[in-house]
C-alpha cells in the first residue's frame, strides 16, 4: 500500500532491499544503482535517451510515490474506473438493435451464426437457445448527439453528450474471471499487474497523505483480488481498499485502551527506535530502512485523521447527497452512490486511480435467467450515482482532468438462455468513457444488426488500455517493467495494441 510515501521520501531514501529483484546486483559493488549514483545527479536528472527507459523503469522502484512526469502532455490526471461486474447487456442499455424486435422468438439467422462461427468467439453460442430474445426495454435518442440509451439508464442518458461509446469491445474469454483479469491486467491468466497499479507506477501519487490507487466495493469483482492486484509490480503499487461507510480503512482506529495515550506511546516508540538506530550508526551500517520505519509511524498517526476526514461523506451539503442519490430509500443505491461520492472526494485530494465496483451481492449483472429482474434493479442502483458523479465532476471543473470509464468484462447475447435470460458475450459489447481528454457525444465501432459480434472496428482490451495510458500522457510501449528478463507491459509484449487516437481530444 502506498500511503504517505511522498512524505516518507522527503525524509529518507528507501533502502535497496525495497527494490525489485530484477535490478542487477543491488547493494553489491559495481551495481547499476552505484553507477547511476556515480553520475552525480541522482535519479530524475538524467535525460539522455539510452538511459531514459531504464531510468523510468527504475525510479518508481526507488521512489514509488514521487510524482513522475508523464512521457508527454497528459489529457487526464486521474481515473475513475466504474466496473459493472458480471456483464451487463449492451443490447438492453446502450447498443440499440431494432432488428431484434422483428426476430424475437425466431432462430438466429444463419448469416450471423456463420460469421461468428468463423471466429475465435464461436463458443459464445455454447449454452444458449437458438432463439432471439428482443430487448424488453425501450430505447430513445438523447441530447444533442442523439445517442441511444435504453429506459434502464434515465439519469446517465441526461449526460449522453459527455460520453463516448465504444460499441465493439471484445474479450479473449467468455468466462468471468479470465475476461475480468484481462480487462484489469491485460492477461486472461491471473498474476499480472492491474491498470491502477500500472498508472501509479507510471505517474506516482499526487496526494501527500492518501494512497495513489484505491479500490471501492461491497463485493469485489468475479475472480477476486487477482483482478486489482499489483501482480509483479512492487508492493508500493498495491491498491488500498477504502470502505464507504464506517472507518474507511482496515486497522485505522486504535484500540480504545491505547487511543488515549497514543501520542505518548508513539513518542516512546520513536525514542526506543532512535536508541536502537544508534547502535547501527556506530557501526556505520546502512540505517535507511530503520529510518523509513520510524517515519511510517508519524505518517500513520497523521493518516488516521486524513483518511477519516476524506471518508466523512456527511460533511458534504444536502444538495450533493441529493445529486448522488445518497438519500435513496434503497440501501443498495445508497451504497453505490456513496462510493461514487467518495471517488470524487479521493480524486479531488489527488488520488490517481479509483477502481469502483458496483457489486452489491454475489451475482452482479450476470443475467443467465430473468434478464428484467436482474438488470432493472441493478440499473436503478447505479444509474443515479454515475450521473451524479459526472455532474459533480463537471461542476467542479474536475471532469476535464478525470477520465471516467464505465465497463464490464463482457456483454450478453441476443440469444435467449434459460428463463428469459442471456448468456455471456465476449464477441461484442459496449463500454463508455467520459471526461479527461475524451471526445464528447461520440460513438465508435459497432456490432452486427443483432448485437452479437463486433463487426465494425473491433476493439481489444489492450487497445483500451493503450488509449487510457495515452490519455494520461503515458507511452504504453515505454511503460514497462522487467520480469524475469521480459519487459512486461499491460498492452502485452507483442506490441499489437492500437490506441483509439480518434476519440482523444
Amino acid at each position: 500500500m502506498d500511503l504517505w510515501g511522498k512524505l516518507t521520501e522527503m525524509r529518507i531514501r528507501l533502502d535497496p532491499c525495497n527494490c525489485n529483484q530484477n535490478l542487477n546486483g543491488i547493494g553489491y559493488p559495481g551495481s547499476r544503482r552505484d553507477f547511476l549514483r556515480s553520475l552525480g545527479g541522482g535519479f530524475g536528472m538524467l535525460a539522455c535517451g539510452a538511459l531514459e527507459n531504464s531510468l523510468r523503469a527504475q525510479s518508481p522502484v526507488e521512489k514509488p510515490y514521487a510524482v513522475r512526469s508523464p512521457h508527454f502532455a497528459p489529457r487526464a490526471r486521474s481515473v475513475i474506473f466504474l466496473f459493472m461486474v458480471g456483464g451487463p447487456s449492451q443490447i438492453d442499455t446502450f447498443d440499440y438493435k431494432p432488428l431484434l424486435e422483428e426476430l424475437d422468438g425466431k432462430p438466429v439467422p444463419s448469416s450471423f451464426r456463420e460469421a461468428l462461427n468463423a471466429t475465435r468467439h464461436a463458443n459464445v453460442f455454447h449454452g444458449c437457445d437458438d432463439l432471439i430474445l428482443k430487448s424488453p426495454f425501450a430505447f430513445k435518442q438523447h441530447g444533442q448527439s442523439g445517442l441511444w440509451v435504453s429506459e434502464l439508464m434515465p439519469h446517465t442518458a441526461q449526460h449522453v453528450d459527455e460520453l463516448c461509446f465504444i460499441h465493439s469491445m471484445q474479450a479473449d474469454s467468455n468466462n468471468h474471471a479470465p475476461a475480468s483479469y484481462q480487462l484489469h491486467t491485460g492477461d486472461v491468466r491471473a498474476g499480472k499487474a492491474s491498470l491502477g497499479s500500472w498508472v501509479t507506477y507510471g505517474l506516482g501519487s499526487e496526494s501527500e497523505d492518501l494512497p495513489g490507487y484505491v479500490v471501492l466495493f461491497d463485493a469485489g469483482p468475479l475472480g477476486g483480488s487477482a483482478n486489482y492486484t499489483n501482480g509483479f509490480l512492487p508492493p508500493a503499487f498495491q491498491p488500498t481498499r477504502f470502505r464507504s461507510s464506517g472507518p474507511p480503512l482496515h486497522h485505522l482506529v486504535p484500540q480504545p485502551e491505547f487511543a488515549s495515550g497514543q501520542t505518548q506511546s508513539l513518542e516512546l516508540l520513536e525514542k526506543l527506535n532512535r536508541i536502537h538506530r544508534g547502535q547501527y550508526e556506530e557501526l556505520h551500517s546502512e540505517t535507511s530502512q530503520l529510518d523509513a520505519r520510524i517515519a511510517t509511524y508519524e505518517l500513520a498517526y497523521r493518516m488516521q485523521a486524513s483518511a477519516m476526514q476524506v471518508g466523512r461523506l456527511e460533511d458534504e451539503p444536502q444538495h450533493i447527497h441529493q445529486l448522488y442519490g445518497l438519500n435513496d430509500p434503497d440501501v443498495r443505491t445508497q451504497s453505490f452512490s456513496r462510493k461514487c461520492l467518495l471517488a470524487r472526494r479521493l480524486v479531488e485530494k489527488g488520488v490517481r486511480f479509483v477502481q469502483l465496483y458496483d457489486m452489491p451481492d454475489k451475482d452482479g449483472w450476470d443475467a443467465h435467467s430473468k434478464l428484467v429482474e436482474n438488470h432493472k434493479p441493478r440499473a436503478k442502483w447505479t444509474d443515479v450515482g454515475v450521473a451524479g458523479l459526472l455532474a459533480d465532476l463537471r461542476q467542479r471543473g474536475l471532469l476535464d482532468s478525470t477520465l471516467v470509464i464505465w465497463a464490464s468484462e463482457f456483454g450478453r447475447t441476443p440469444m435467449k438462455q434459460g428463463d428469459l435470460g442471456r448468456q455471456h458475450n465476449a464477441a461484442g459489447f459496449t463500454i463508455w468513457m467520459a471526461g479527461g481528454g475524451i471526445r464528447k457525444g461520440l460513438r465508435i465501432g459497432s456490432t452486427d444488426e443483432i448485437g452479437l459480434m463486433a463487426t465494425e472496428r473491433p476493439v481489444q482490451f489492450r487497445d483500451l488500455h493503450a488509449t487510457i495510458l495515452t490519455a494520461l500522457g503515458l507511452d504504453f510501449e515505454r511503460l514497462s517493467f522487467e520480469v524475469s528478463g521480459r519487459d512486461e507491459r499491460i498492452t502485452g509484449v507483442a506490441g499489437s495494441a492500437k490506441p483509439l487516437m480518434d476519440i482523444l481530444l
Binding site: M1, D2, L3, T8, C17, N20, Q21, N22, I26, G27, P29, P64, V85, H126, G127, H176, A177, P178, R189, A190, G191, F217, D218, G220, G223, G224, S225, A226, G231, P235, Q238, H251, L252, P254, Q255, E257, F258, G261, Q264, S265, L268, L269, L272, I275, S285, E286, Q289, L290, A292, R293, I294, T296, Y297, A300, M303, K362, S484, G485, R486, A494
Partner: protein, 675 residues
Amino acid sequence: MRLSQTIKPIGTVKRILVYTLITLVCSISLFAQDDKPKTIGSALQDPTNPIAELFAGERLDLWSLQPIQAPSIDPQAAQGFEHPIDLLLSNGSAADASEVSVQATKEKLLQRLSLDLIGLRASYQQIKSFMEDQSPEAIDKQIDGLLSDPRFGEHWARFWLDTVRYSDSNGFDWDEYRKEAWRYRDFVIRAFNEDLPYDQFVLWQLAGDELLEGPAETQSQLDQLLATGYLRLGPFDNAAKLFNEQDRARSEVLTDLTETTGAAFLGLTLSCCRCHHHKTDPLSQQDHYRFRAFFAATAFDESTSILLEPEQRLIDEHNQKIDQMIEPIQANSDAVDQKAKQERIDQLRAQKRTKLTGLLACDDIQHIDAIHVLDQGNHQKPLEEVQPGFPSVLFPNPPDIQAPNPSKSTGRRLALAKWIVSKQNPWAARVIVNRVWQNLFGQGLVATPNDFGITGSAPVSRELLDHLAVYLVEHDWSIKSLIRYIVTSRAYRAEVGTWRKLRRLSAEQMRDVLLQVTGELQHRSGGPPVWPPVSEDVLQANPAVLDDNETKTKGWYPSPESQLTVRSVYLIQKRTVRIPWMETFDLPENTVSCARRDVSIVAPQALAMLNADWVWSAAKQSARNTDSDELFRVLLSREPTAQEQLICRSYLDEGRTLEELSLVLLNSNELAFAP
C-alpha cells in the same frame, strides 16, 4: 568381432592395411545401420546446433551455460582465511576482506541464526546460556540445535512454497478450496526437516508417481506421491468447461507447468519464449514447447488413495464386509417389505468409508496431448508438432525416455527430472544454492534467482556459486549441510554491512514472532490449514465466497479460536481472498513462482501493528503479572539499558500501562528486523 577372428597372422604392413580396411568397413556399415539422425553437439561446440544457427552463434557467452566447475583454491591465497567462502568472496568482485572482519556480537549472531534457521527469535534464556557457554563448540551446538528443530522445516518450507506458487485454492471465479493441498505443504516441511536430498526432492515432485512401484506403504513412499502435488499447484479454471473453453484451461495448465518448472528448478525464463524466440537468451520458441511436451500426458490423479497402505487396507476390508452383508439382503427376493429392504441396504451403504484422494498427479497414457508450437502462444493456432526435449542450446538431441511401467506412465516427467539433477545440468545445483544463499543473506549471489539468463544478474562471484554447487552435490545434495557450511563463514557472521543486510521480517515471520514473544504461539505439526476469521467485507473480495456450494469448497470456514495462533505457514492461502494483515506485509501473488519477496516499509504496516485486534490482545497477554524490565526480557530477549529504563519509567509514571508498553515494544524496530 566375427571378422577379426577370421584373420590369420600375416605381415605387419598387411595387418595394418587389413585392420584399416576392417575399421573402414565397420564404420561404414555402422553408419548405414544407424537410422537415428546425426548426433548434434552443444551450441558451444557445434555450429550446426539449431540455437547456434538461430542466433548466428551469439548469446553463447551466457555464464550459466558453462559447466559447473569447482574453483581451485590456491593454498597461498587461502592463508588468513578460515573459510573457503570468505576466500572466494574476497577473490570475487572487489569485496574487501576487511568487510567481514567486524563480526557480529554473540547475542546478535544467535538472534540472526535463530531467525534465519527456524524463523523465530532466540529467547532471553537461550541467549543467556549461550553467552555463558565459553566452549569453542558453543556456536556449533546452537547451529545443530536449530537445524534439528522441527520448526526449521516450517520456516524453510516457506521459500519453496513461494517458488512453486503454493496455494490452497484453484483461483479464478470460484477459487475452490483444495481440500488436500496441505499434504503437499506438509511434505515440503518434512523434506526440509528430514533433509531429503535435493535431487530426490526434485525427482519426487516431478515424477514421484513414476518412481513408485505399487501402493505406498511407508510415509516416505507416500511422500513421493504427495510431492506430485507440485504438478497441480497452479491456478485452474474449473469454470472453463461451462463456456466450452477447456482447451484454453488445459493449455494454461501446461504453460504454467512449463514456466514454473523452468523458473523454479532451472532459473530459465521459458515464459519469454512462449510466443516467439527468446529476446535475449539462447532459447527458441521450439524449446518452450519441447519442454512442455514432457508434461503432455500429465493428468489429475483422482483415484489413488493418499492414505498409507495399512490404513487403506483397513478401509477396504471394512467396505468388503459391508458389501458381504448387503449381498444376501439384495439377493433375497422373497422380502415382503421392499421399502424396509432398501432402507436396510442404504443404512449399510452409509457405513462404508470412502477412499481419500488428494492433490496427486499421474500420466494418462490414453490421452497424451500432441504438443505443437503455438503461434503467438495462442492455443487456437497450432503450428508444427514437437517432441519432448531439453533446451537445445546444450541438449539438442532427443532425450532417452524410459517408462518404468509403460502401462502406467510415459516416463517423460521422469526423464525430465533425472536430467535436471544430472551432472550435465549446469543450472539446477546453482539455482538451489543461490536460493539458500538468498535466504541467509537477504540477496542471492545471483540477484535474480528465477532468471539465470542474459538479462538476469550475473553472479557476484561465479567461483563461489560453483563452489557451493559442487559442495551441495558432493554432500549428497544435503540442504542442511550447505546451510551449516555457509553460516560458519565469517561473511555470514559479519556485522550488518556489505554482505549481511538488515532485513524486515516477512509477513509470516512478523506474525509468528509477535505470537512467539507474547507466548501465544502454539506448536502444531502439519494438518489442514487454519482459517482465521475475517470480516464479511474482506470475504466479499471474491463474491463466490458468498455463494458456497454443496461440497463446501467455495466458502470461508473459520477455525475455532483455540487453533488460531499457529505458525503462519499453516494459515489458509487462497488465491482470490487474502488475509488483510498478512497482505499489508507484502504477501506475494501466489499464481506464479515468486523468486524473492519484495519488501516495502509503509504506513499501513504501522497501523496494522498498532491497531489490529490480535496484536493488542497479544500485547495485553504478555503484560500480565510482570514489570517493565521483564517485558524487555520476554519481548526483546535482553535487559533494558539504563537509558531505556529511565524513559520507560517516566512513560509509566505518566499513567500509561504495561499493556501499552508491551504494544510499543512489539512495534519496535528491534523486533521488526533480522539483525
